[in-house]
């Protein structure tokens, strides 16, 4: 593979756009796992549900991004209810629930996957929109519009969530509940309700992120598996609980993947996220920006 600076520049630009997207799909996990310590392995599967939801709405002519926004409240409510169930079954029992909690989420992953296969079939599905198919020409560089769209939405989502968590009362409560539940209770806030809110937000964000996934590439039911690697890589790389760290980590992953894709070929790309994850877990499990 011939190396040239043009190609490298293009790979980096592509990687930044892709990285923004990876950050967006990891935001929910940053909240549910990073802040609340819930072993939510089902996060990418819910992401895929959002993508398929946007696809279904797209069959009625709804633009993917609009579909994502429409699905957000639905996912929020579903997430809040789901957390309540999880809390009642697992967290309150407090037994050696590590195995059981993880097993539960892995089971959920497969149920969602099979559900999607049964409902939609194993075929790839993709969306059509005005901004899918063309690209921005900057000299010899081509940046596909769908990537630019994905990146913009991602940026807005990351900013919005970050502001919410740092500027509003309940946002700060979410950050606090992971650190000191007792103190929160003393302030008159019910930690369970706060966690419900947090999980609801994490799931709601997934709806829009899923719609963005649909814009980016065709979807099929087993896609969630590689996103387990990408989302956990971003969250671990960032360090648990850091929202701005999530954005930076996403960019790092995006650029790394893009460079490997360009210069080593598509056959090595699947290992980048997981490889980076292993390296982080082995040498710096607390991440780059963690608490």
């Amino acid at each position: 593979m011939t190396f040239s600076f043009d190609l490298l520049l293009e790979a980096i630009l592509f990687g930044i756009l892709l990285g923004g997207f990876y950050a967006a799909v990891s935001l929910g996990l940053s909240v549910s796992f990073g802040l609340l310590d819930i072993p939510n392995v089902a996060h990418p599967a819910v992401l895929l549900l959002g993508a398929y939801g946007a696809f279904s709405l797209g069959q009625y002519g709804v633009d993917p991004i609009v579909a994502g926004l429409l699905l957000m409240p639905v996912f929020f409510i579903a997430g809040a209810l789901f957390y309540k169930t999880y809390y009642l079954v697992f967290e309150r029992r407090g037994d050696a629930a590590a195995v059981n909690g993880l097993a539960f989420f892995f089971g959920v992953v497969f149920i969602i996957e099979v559900g999607l296969v049964i409902w939609y079939g194993v075929d790839q599905q993709s969306a059509t929109a005005a901004y899918i198919g063309g690209s921005l020409e900057l000299g010899d560089i081509r940046l596909p519009y769908r990537l630019l769209a994905a990146f913009s939405v991602a940026l807005v989502m990351a900013l919005a969530l970050s502001l919410y968590l740092s500027k509003t009362f309940y946002g700060r409560a979410i950050k606090a509940v992971g650190q000191d539940e007792g103190a929160l209770r003393l302030m008159g806030v019910d930690p369970v309700k706060v966690k419900q809110l947090a999980f609801g937000i994490a799931t709601g964000v997934n709806a829009l992120a899923g719609a963005v996934l649909l814009i980016l590439a065709p979807i099929e039911p087993t896609m969630d598996r590689i996103y387990i690697g990408r989302t956990f890589c971003v969250v671990v790389l960032a360090g648990l609980g850091s929202m701005s760290g999530t954005l930076a980590a996403g960019l790092i992953l995006g650029i790394a993947e893009s460079i490997v894709l360009m210069f080593l070929g598509a056959s090595w790309a699947p290992a980048v996220a997981f490889g980076l994850l292993m390296v982080m877990l082995g040498f710096r499990p607390q991440g780059l920006f963690g608490r």
Binding site: E10, P144, P218, L261
Partner: protein, 416 residues
């Protein structure tokens, strides 16, 4: 005759008349079981469903004529989703649980490759279904492939001719890492020295690849004259879309080659004008003179529309119907359903089918190849019926079927 014997004869004859009126006809009691799996969902599903419809048509036609050897045909096709992990289990089940008499292979190389060792071990005849060189390593002597190609040289000949005519010197190769694409690409790679083309880009990408813009970008940077792609339907569409989104660059004269999927009419309809200029393989283009095929298409289209399957059915269905015809001729000639007997007949004879005469070589592939290389021209968006016209796919090779010359460079051909 005394009374008791008359009574006996009377009772016997009335009983036999009664039994012949009320019993199930013998032909349906002892059916010939033909079994297979077919990709009906998954990446190959669009083609598989059309192929299956043609096979079912053949079964209906034969049963309407009284079956084979006076026995009804019992036909069953499972869905393997185009996934090679599913076929060994399905074919084991067909042999040991369903106990079928005869096997047909699933459509396409990838689902067929895993069952080749199995059918060889069990000594079963396998009627191949549009696979490419899948028997090359296993060398099963009871394998017969209905596709009109043999090896990479035959396939590549038309594409190579276009490259020569356009004075091309360099080639970029992109091939999916799976049995079909690798067989084809390796054949092309092996023959490069003879062609005078130098490879400037050569990449195998895994089947899970969804984003082709990086591949297209990398190809562009090497400024090739020819771009050869070997891919399955999902990535063929991906590559065509990426070529439009990112652009292959002004140097490219010829683009196409071995992209499966660009022959399925639903795919052709959805890609529309993005197809223009691509030079790709096919097995049948409207206008080719073949006896009996027009009548087949009429009947096929009626059923296909009802079942929401590829309505034009140009690529696979006629050849699947031909598979049935070959089996019919072999079984009727040898008066048996024994695998070895049928295999011997198929090897020794030329069979007459709706896609013309079919003759096999020692490896079970076509002795009389007829791979069509055609260039898409003047294709409009969202129009299915336009593909009934021979002008949408101009045949540039073989000479016997040629309807026009290739237009290059690719950028110019796109606008044709």
């Amino acid at each position: 005759m005394d009374l008791s014997r008359r009574k006996l004869i009377g009772t016997a004859s009335s009983l036999s008349i009664a039994s012949s009126v009320f019993s199930v006809p013998a032909w349906a009691n002892n059916p010939i079981k033909i079994g297979m799996s077919m990709p009906q969902t998954g990446p190959l599903g669009a083609g598989g469903k059309a192929a299956l419809l043609a096979l079912k048509m053949w079964v209906e036609d034969v049963n309407g004529r009284g079956g084979l050897l006076g026995r009804k045909i019992d036909f069953n096709a499972y869905d393997d989703q185009g996934n090679p992990a599913n076929t060994p289990g399905i074919y084991s089940k067909l042999l040991d649980v369903d106990k079928v008499d005869l096997l047909i292979a699933p459509y396409a190389t990838v689902p067929t490759a895993p069952i080749m060792p199995l059918v060889k071990q069990r000594g079963k005849l396998l009627m191949g279904n549009f696979s490419f060189q899948v028997n090359a390593k296993v060398k099963h002597d009871m394998w017969f492939n209905n596709a009109p190609w043999n090896d990479a040289e035959g396939w590549f000949a038309g594409f190579l001719q276009a490259a020569k005519d356009s004075n091309s010197k360099t080639i970029a190769i992109a091939a999916q890492d799976q049995e079909f694409a690798q067989n084809l690409a390796n054949g092309v790679r092996a023959g490069l020295a003879r062609t005078g083309l130098t490879s400037v880009y050569d990449q195998n990408y895994p089947p899970t690849t969804k984003d082709f813009s990086s591949i297209v970008r990398a190809i562009r940077s090497t400024k090739p004259d020819v771009v050869f792609v070997a891919s399955y339907p999902g990535d063929s569409v991906g590559m065509v879309n990426a070529a439009h989104e990112i652009g292959l660059g002004p140097t490219v004269k010829i683009f196409g080659g071995g992209m499966v999927g660009l022959q399925f009419t639903p795919v052709m309809e959805s890609l529309g004008s993005k197809l223009n200029g691509i030079i790709n393989y096919n097995t049948y283009v409207p206008g080719m003179p073949l006896k009996g095929i027009e009548d087949f298409f009429k009947r096929y289209t009626a059923k296909a529309v009802a079942e929401k399957v590829d309505p034009l059915g140009y690529y696979l269905p006629p050849f699947n119907y031909a598979t049935g015809q070959m089996l019919e001729q072999a079984i009727n000639a040898t008066k048996s359903i024994d695998d070895k007997a049928i295999a011997a007949y198929l090897r020794a004879n030329t069979m007459d089918t709706i896609v013309g005469p079919i003759k096999f070589d020692a490896g079970g592939e076509r002795a009389n190849q007829r791979v069509i290389m055609a260039q898409f021209r003047g294709v409009k968006d969202k129009d299915l019926e336009q593909f009934r016209s021979p002008q949408r796919q101009v045949i540039i090779h073989p000479t016997a079927d040629k309807t026009g010359d290739a237009i290059f460079p690719y950028e110019q051909a796109r606008k044709s």
